[in-house]
């Protein structure tokens, strides 16, 4: 995807997320639009940084750094960012993301149907393993640290 394409994609996706916020979470129109606008803006800026800063760090890294920095207490725009982005529910964005995720399933379904039940059992074990092992260790560590 070229740059114009990326920007346009985000504008479309941001608009969809804003509409879902309005319809599903009763967020006022302007709050939803501004909130999603801020999220899209930070994301695009992060993608751009990942392109121009040498070192080939992944986009996730720069997007996260920017998002975190923009909302830390030292940031001059922290209040503005926080006020509007809290109105965009995390779950609303999830629904939009998984709508697209669902629409990509079809291209893999032919391959999927050829798979044996064994590999499906292994896949379930892999996902369960990573989630439960990490949760288990986190539970112990948080107790040891006295956080919970």
């Amino acid at each position: 995807m070229n740059q114009r394409e990326t920007v346009l994609t985000f504008l479309v996706a941001g608009l969809i997320a804003a509409i879902v916020c309005m319809v599903g979470y009763a967020v006022p129109v302007w709050d939803a639009l501004i909130g999603c606008g801020i999220l899209v803006f930070i994301t695009l800026l992060g993608i751009w940084l990942a392109k121009i800063i040498p070192g080939k760090l992944p986009m996730v890294f720069w997007v996260s750094i920017l998002a975190i920095l923009s909302s830390t207490p030292i940031s001059p725009v922290a209040d503005f960012v926080k006020e509007y982005t809290t109105k965009v529910d995390f779950l609303a964005i999830c629904t939009v993301v998984l709508s697209y995720a669902g629409l990509t399933v079809g291209k893999d379904i032919v391959m999927f149907k050829k798979m044996s039940w064994r590999i499906i059992v292994v896949a379930l074990a892999v996902y369960t393993g990573t989630f439960i092992c990490a949760t288990f260790i986190a539970e112990i560590m948080l107790h040891l640290e006295g956080i919970i």
Partner: protein
């Protein structure tokens, strides 16, 4: 302009998301826990049905476009989590040690549970590719470079990748909601566990946990976001330098014990 050419997919995504939100959260008690159905799960399933090749509602090119849109969109989730982490960065830093150590669970949990099962079910070297990591795009790149995607290891990693696309988020969302409702683990621990390093799986798990514990939603999103960030960034290096060698070592050790027949038939390398 691909976005405008593929307008149909965006309209469908919007309609699916709205329908899913209007259905709302549904809970079905099962045994000691609860099966929690969130709007995002309906969105995923409805999308899957619409994209079913036999229905011919969506063309292959449009699905390809949706895939590239999806990889960008997950970044908005990352941003949303980032702006939640920012205001309480000191809290995240306080839990920094716990966050770092639990990453071992993310990286090695796939091997610990997956590898013995894979070997016992009779998979050969496929089990190494299948279980050395959660098998998303960066992990495929590692296997592709080391063994090639035509190898047994390559087939293993691709198979789990496809399973992940088809039902990964649904599965992990359901087990996260189920475990959360059982109240064995603290919501913060579950939140950290949710940061599995795949955008849609993380979303499904975190959403489920936040729905079970609505009063701690902000902290849950904060810890999940921080954990997912660590998994994504450290993951590539950890999988390459630690997980893969460990998986290979364990495969050699466990195969004779768990799958002795395979060795007798001389098929251990296959």
């Amino acid at each position: 302009m691909d976005v405008l050419k593929n307008w149909k997919i965006h309209i469908i995504a919007l309609i699916l998301a709205i329908i899913s939100e209007l259905i709302g959260v549904k809970k079905i008690p099962v045994g000691p826990g609860v099966l929690l159905f969130l709007p995002m799960l309906y969105a995923m399933i409805l999308g899957g049905i619409i994209s079913w090749p036999k229905l011919k509602m969506i063309k292959a090119g449009e699905m390809k476009h949706a895939t590239s849109v999806l990889s960008l969109l997950t970044l908005i989730l990352v941003t949303k989590l980032g702006v939640i982490i920012g205001p309480s960065l000191n809290k995240v830093a306080e839990a920094g040690f716990a966050l770092s150590i639990q990453e071992l669970g993310h990286f090695l949990g796939t091997v610990v549970l997956g590898l013995p099962i894979a070997i016992a079910l009779g998979l050969g070297r496929e089990s190494v590719g299948a279980t050395f990591s959660i098998d998303r795009e960066p992990n495929i790149a590692i296997i592709a470079e080391k063994y090639g995607l035509d190898s047994a290891e390559g087939r293993g990693v691709m198979a789990i990748y496809i399973c992940g696309t088809v039902f990964g988020a649904i599965w992990i969302g359901l087990i996260a909601g189920f475990l959360a409702a059982m109240h064995i683990f603290h919501p913060y621990a579950l939140a950290m566990g949710s940061g599995v390093g795949s955008g849609s799986m993380m979303a499904a798990a975190t959403g489920a946990i936040a729905t079970v514990f609505p009063e701690q939603k902000e902290q849950i999103l904060m810890y999940a976001g921080a954990s997912n960030l660590l998994t994504t960034i450290v993951g590539i290096y950890f999988c390459l330098f630690v997980s893969l060698p460990i998986t290979n070592y364990l495969y050699k050790r466990l195969s004779p014990i768990l799958s002795p027949n395979r060795l007798k038939k001389g098929g251990a390398s296959q």
